[in-house]
Symmetry: C2
C-alpha cells in the first residue's frame, strides 16, 4: 500500500526517476482533464495532456478506475476522517450524519461524472466502487448506527443502500441547473428522521 515518496525498504529498489516523474505528470494531467471534460474523458486525452504514450498510462494505472482513485484519494480520505470528527463535535448524531452527507454530496457534485461512474456496472470500475465503499461505508454505518441508537432515525436502514442512494441522487447534478441534488438528498435525510 505504501508506494509513497521514500523507498525506505532495503529490498525495494527505488523507481527510476522518469517513471516517478511520469506518474506525477499523469496525476496532474488527469486531474486537469477530469475538471475540464469530466471523469469519463478518453484515456488518450489524459496521455496526450501528460505528454506520454498509452503504454505509460496503463503501466502506472492498470485501469481507468485506478487512475480515478489516485486522483481523488486525498479527498476521499479526508471525507472518511471527517465522519468521526463530526460525530464527536456535533450536537446530535443525526446532525453529524446530515453534515457528513453534505460533505459527501459537495464532493460528488463538484466532480463531473464521478457519481455516474461510481454506480456504473461496467466491468473495470469495480475497483473504484470497491475503494469508495471500503473507505466510506464504515463511516456511514457508524453515523447511521449512532443516530439510530439515539432514536433519531428509523432503524433498519442499510448503510450500503443509503450511501448508494445519496450517490445516485448526485448523478447529473452538473450540466443541469434545474436539478438540485443537494435539495433531494436533504429530502432523503429528512425522510430518514423518525416520524413523531
Amino acid at each position: 500500500m505504501n508506494d509513497g515518496e521514500e523507498g525506505t525498504g532495503r529490498t525495494a529498489r527505488p523507481k527510476r526517476v522518469d517513471a516517478r516523474r511520469n506518474e506525477e505528470n499523469l496525476l496532474d494531467a488527469a486531474a486537469a482533464v477530469f475538471v475540464a471534460s469530466g471523469v469519463e474523458a478518453p484515456v488518450r486525452d489524459i496521455a496526450a495532456r501528460a505528454g506520454v504514450g498509452m503504454g505509460t498510462i496503463y503501466r502506472h494505472f492498470p485501469t481507468r478506475a485506478d487512475l480515478i482513485v489516485a486522483v481523488y484519494r486525498h479527498q476521499v480520505e479526508a471525507l472518511a476522517e471527517a465522519g468521526p470528527a463530526l460525530l464527536s463535535k456535533s450536537a446530535s448524531p443525526y446532525a453529524a450524519l446530515g453534515q457528513w452527507i453534505d460533505l459527501f454530496v459537495d464532493f460528488l457534485v463538484t466532480k463531473h461524472g464521478l457519481a455516474a461512474v461510481l454506480q456504473s456496472d461496467n466491468a473495470g470500475f469495480e475497483t473504484l466502487h470497491a475503494y469508495f465503499l471500503d473507505r466510506l461505508l464504515p463511516v456511514c454505518t457508524e453515523l447511521l448506527d449512532a443516530a439510530a441508537d439515539a432514536g433519531e432515525i428509523r432503524s433498519g436502514m442499510e448503510s450500503y443502500a443509503f450511501l448508494r442512494g445519496v450517490g445516485n441522487l448526485c448523478i447529473g447534478s452538473d450540466h443541469d441547473s434545474r436539478y438540485d441534488a443537494r435539495r433531494l438528498v436533504g429530502l432523503l435525510v429528512a425522510g430518514l428522521a423518525r416520524p413523531h
Copy 2:
C-alpha cells in the same frame, strides 16, 4: 404522429409490406434483447435477433433512443394516464402521488439499465429523455401541485428535479440485491411530507 396501422390518407402511400414486417420484428427483437441483456445491449445484437441488417434498424429507428421509446411507449402512456386516475380515486393527493411514484419505480426497476440511460448525458439519448419528460412531467407536476394545495407536502418542490431524483434512485436496482430502490424512494417521498 399517426404512423399507425392504416394508411388512410389519400396522399400518404402505404409502406411496403417488408418494411412494416421488419419494423415489427425489430420491436419484438429489441424488447426481447432488452429483457435479456439490458437496454444498453449492442445494436448489432438486436439486428441479428430480428434477422435484419444494420441499415434496416437505423432506417426505422434513426437512433437507439427512438427504438427504446418505441419499445416502451405503451407502458409510458399507461403511466401517464394512471396519474389523473389515481388522483381522482385516492383518499388524498399525497396518497395518489405515492402510488403513482410506486408505479413509476416498478416500471424503471424492471427494465435493465433504463434508469441509467434516462439520465445519461450521452448525445443521442436526448430524444429518450425528452419523451419521458414530455409524457410524465405534467403528470408529476399535477400530483405534486395537488398535494401541495392540500397542504400535505412542503411547497416549492420542482417536479422536474423530483422526477429525476426518483429516476436516479432506480439506477442499478437490478443486479444488486443489497440496493433497494423502492425503499429509498419511499424515504424520499416521506421526506417530502410536511413536517408536523
